[in-house]
Symmetry: none
Subunit: 226 residues, 2 copies
């Protein structure tokens, strides 16, 4: 369970409140701090979705916060600064930042950049993944197809999640047996096939021509979005 939201770190109170207000208006939930120390505490405790860090901060500066964050997390980071010379940008991005934005910034632009970064980070980190009509919520353990909830049994769900964890990759039957079932299973069994078939019957519009779970004859199965 994660608390969604933006972490904003900016020492100038007027800029801070202005940005906080603007981002809130764009529909984000924002928490803001004035120092890097507070920001690091917040990140450790609350796991925000993304951090927007001013580079010039008293104490630990934004670049350093970014470096430390990178060591412990994949948390997306946008660096924000008044200085826009090339060296600063290069240094900032090399510290692990995902984007580098020069102040003053139009709120709509910042919002668009936030969304662009979240969009990419989401596929890897989020609890909810979307493949066309198919939505898999790993947190709620729920699967919906075109808005309608699909009931999957525990085993089916585990198998589907295992396939989805490696999108586009072919997973062989032995691997799936180990990952989804207890490793105490005979190597040759139609168990995986039967389970795949049951999942298909539930999530594939035309089970005979699967769109999500593809058979790779002689090797195994591959989950790939349509």
């Amino acid at each position: 369970m994660r608390v969604a939201g933006i972490l904003l770190v900016e020492d100038d109170p007027s800029v801070r409140t202005a940005l906080e207000l603007a981002l809130t208006r764009q529909g984000h939930s924002v928490t803001s701090y004035a120092t890097g120390e507070e920001a690091l505490d917040h990140i450790r405790a609350r796991r925000p979705e993304i951090a927007i860090l001013d580079v010039m901060l008293p104490g630990i500066d934004g670049i350093e916060v970014c470096r430390r964050v990178r060591k412990l997390d994949q948390l997306p980071v946008i660096l924000l600064t008044a200085r826009g010379d090339d060296l600063d940008i290069v240094v900032g991005l090399e510290a692990g930042a995902d984007d580098y934005v020069v102040k003053p910034v139009e709120p709509r632009v910042l919002d668009a950049r936030i969304r662009a970064i979240l969009r990419r980070a989401e596929s890897a980190a989020s609890d909810r993944i979307t493949f066309g009509d198919l939505v898999i919520d790993r947190g709620a353990l729920k699967v919906t197809l075109a808005g309608k909830e699909i009931h999957l049994t525990p085993t089916e769900l585990r198998l589907l999640l295992e396939l989805v964890r490696h999108p586009g990759q072919v997973l062989n039957r032995r691997y799936l047996l180990r990952a989804v079932w207890d490793h105490t299973h005979i190597a040759d069994s139609r168990l995986v096939d039967a389970c795949v078939q049951r999942i298909r019957a539930k999530i594939e519009p035309k089970p005979a021509e699967p769109v999500f779970i593809h058979t790779v004859r002689g090797f195994g199965y591959r989950f790939s979005p349509p």
Copy 2:
């Protein structure tokens, strides 16, 4: 063996060559085009790691290329433009671009932004090798030729992968029989030949004049890119 690199699309020849040179100097492998149509073909056929698209292009513009790319792939995209007004940026990012860079751009900065995006996209990257029009994805066990997926049977795929594992090397029939088939096979048979022939029929534009799998009379076969 070549690894797919950066796709650059820019209609102004002088800017294009300048950027291509600069990026090559930074250690990237760059392919460049002047139009969106060519770019889309290239993407389908060669699966680059990242695309850098000028927004203002004759025919299909960069934004539209970006939109179409997003529909079929997770390919990272950087939009490049001379116009830097806010609305453009928002529209560009909402079309699915990962970053939006305003020209003129310092090569080091562009390089840093490329690396920042690749860093984040990397987690989803699978191991593909590209030989001209031929793309072999070892994770997905998929082979595509000029963007079209080629169906290979298990044995054909195993043989092709074995050949590709040693690009430029001549592999003799006995070795291939051991590696691809069970080692319990008679040494002399047309088996390898027949399988090579079947692969050629699928991946070689003119099977009679093979470009990928070459016969080395008296020794065996060699896979080498065109």
